[in-house]
């Protein structure tokens, strides 16, 4: 009777069924543990891999992208590619390498339009607003602008010309009479398209696109800039400094904004002339 009741219609004993089920569950669980650790590793996008414009934040992107490659297909410049097995980018996801083929920043952003899942955010319609990464002048030692040579290639190829990269003039200490034209990137306008990195004339680019989380610093949340707070409050929030004063003779004052010592007109009557010799001469004439 016991035998009969423990047999199901398919002729499998309860023991066999349980063993099979537990075995299958354990196998799946084991696979899951392995997969979980691999998932964490796969989330670390390497610095050279730049996501297409409008890509969600990496973790959300890996949940939304189905790896179909439609963005790759609709990219007119063959910029994008899908990560192949063995690469260190999450398998099958789209990315580009700025030094090889940068993003040409199409106005109609076909890659975003092609994305069926919204892993590339469809609300991004102005390519200038995209933030694929941020250009960083990573090596001032090899960038020839810092040696006083005229290059400015990164400045000239920048699609957001004059805004994302500006040239700041500095004194050339070496020659003593020339200017350095230093490229400076502004995160307010840089889209991370990578044109500058591709165009950099060096053997290895001195300006590189980094993912925003690598390229950007962040001020401590508690940090306040005094002058900004003062402007907001309309008054100084700390006891105002006592204004420094020189003890100057009458008719003279000191201008702190840069003019320096000012001798007012009537002060010409001072007993002391500008040239100390004059004073001596005057003394000889007898006062």
């Amino acid at each position: 009777m016991g035998d009969k009741s423990s047999k199901s219609s398919s002729g499998v004993t309860r023991r066999q069924f349980l063993a099979g089920t537990v075995g299958a569950a354990c196998a799946a669980g084991l696979a899951g543990l392995g997969l979980a650790s691999y998932t964490r590793q796969a989330m670390s996008l390497p610095a050279h891999a730049i996501r297409p414009p409008g890509a969600l934040e990496e973790k959300d992107f890996l949940g939304a992208c189905v790896r179909c490659g439609l963005c790759v297909r609709d990219c007119p410049y063959d910029t994008l590619r899908l990560a192949q097995p063995g690469e260190d980018v999450a398998l099958g996801t789209p990315y580009f390498v700025a030094r090889e083929i940068p993003c040409e920043m199409c106005e109609d952003i076909p890659c975003i339009v092609a994305c069926p899942t919204g892993a590339l955010d469809h609300s991004l319609t102005d390519i200038d607003e995209s933030r694929m990464g941020l250009a960083v002048v990573v090596d001032q030692e090899s960038c020839i602008a810092f040696r006083g040579l005229r290059c400015e290639v990164c400045f000239n190829v920048c699609p957001v010309r004059g805004k994302a990269i500006t040239l700041e003039m500095q004194h050339n200490e070496r020659s003593g009479k020339h200017a350095l034209f230093i490229p400076v990137v502004h995160s307010s306008d840089c889209t991370g398209c990578g044109k500058c990195e591709q165009a950099c004339i060096l053997e290895e680019a001195a300006i590189k696109i980094f993912p925003l989380h690598l390229a950007k610093g962040m001020l401590g949340r508690h940090y306040r800039l005094g002058w900004q707070e003062k402007e907001k409050a309309g008054r100084s929030l700390v006891t105002p400094d006592v204004e420094h004063k020189y003890n100057l003779p009458e008719g003279m004052r000191y201008e702190y904004e840069g003019e320096g010592l000012i001798i007012e007109e009537q002060a010409a009557e001072t007993p002391f002339a500008d040239d100390p010799l004059e004073t001596l001469k005057r003394g000889k004439d007898g006062i």
Binding site: Y38, A42, G63, R67, C68, P116, T117, G118
Partner: protein
Amino acid sequence: MEKRVPLGQEALVTKGWWKSHQWLVLRRVSQLSVLSLFLIGPWFGLWIIKGNIASSEILNMVPLTDPYLLLQVFLTNHWPETTALIGAAIVLLFYLLVGGRVYCSWVCPVNMVTDFAAWLRRRFGITSSARLSRNTRFWILALTLVMALVTGTLAWELVNPVTAVYRGLIFGMGFGWAVLTAVFLFDLVISSRGWCGHLCPVGAFYSLIGRFSLVRVSALRREQCNDCMDCFIICPEPQVIRPALKGAEQGIGPVIRDGACTNCGRCIDICSKDVFQLGLRSGGRMISQVANHQREVLS
């Protein structure tokens, strides 16, 4: 004990080569055609269909999206664009019509590799096989869904050989050949029909759709069965045949209702008595009743 006739010999003799191989040939044509349609875009610039098996677009108009993938996307807490929703609905409807695991046997390229492994096993008489529950795939399916929920990413897509191979063929294989080789060797040496029949969660997902799908294989003329066992040997999911073929007394069948059936049609080819045929789920029963009735009338 009489010597067994080689597998498929009887069908070959009674029906001829074409009739005993037609579904196999059609299936291979289908698998290769779908793949070619994807490939002629990047190879010859003829863009009939763009993308890959995960999500694609026909003639820049009709979207197609894998519903299993989209289910995982939902679980990662991302609401997809309408394109993907429509695409998944189309694919879902299609497989509800033609059979869930038609995906496995008529589209998936891995099937060709695992079928090859199974053929080699038969050819060289490799019978040793690790005991795996066929339900393991449902545990793995559940696992992939839980992983999507917990990690917030499509974790399974990091290792899924099915999409990796398809994407690889179209977008560049890289190290992907190793994955395919692993699946092949697993099926050949370790477990018979191991990947597609026991582990693959993609197949498990589509078998759930198959439970409700319209087109099914039916053992319509099961009373003709001469117990040659050829169908059981050739079938990648032999457990689905038994109830339909031998369930007459219990009133089960003749339609194969088990979602695990891939509608591959190999049983139809291999049967010298033409027991099996493709038909509609409910219609199948009707047709069979009509057929039985006619036979009764005729005899």
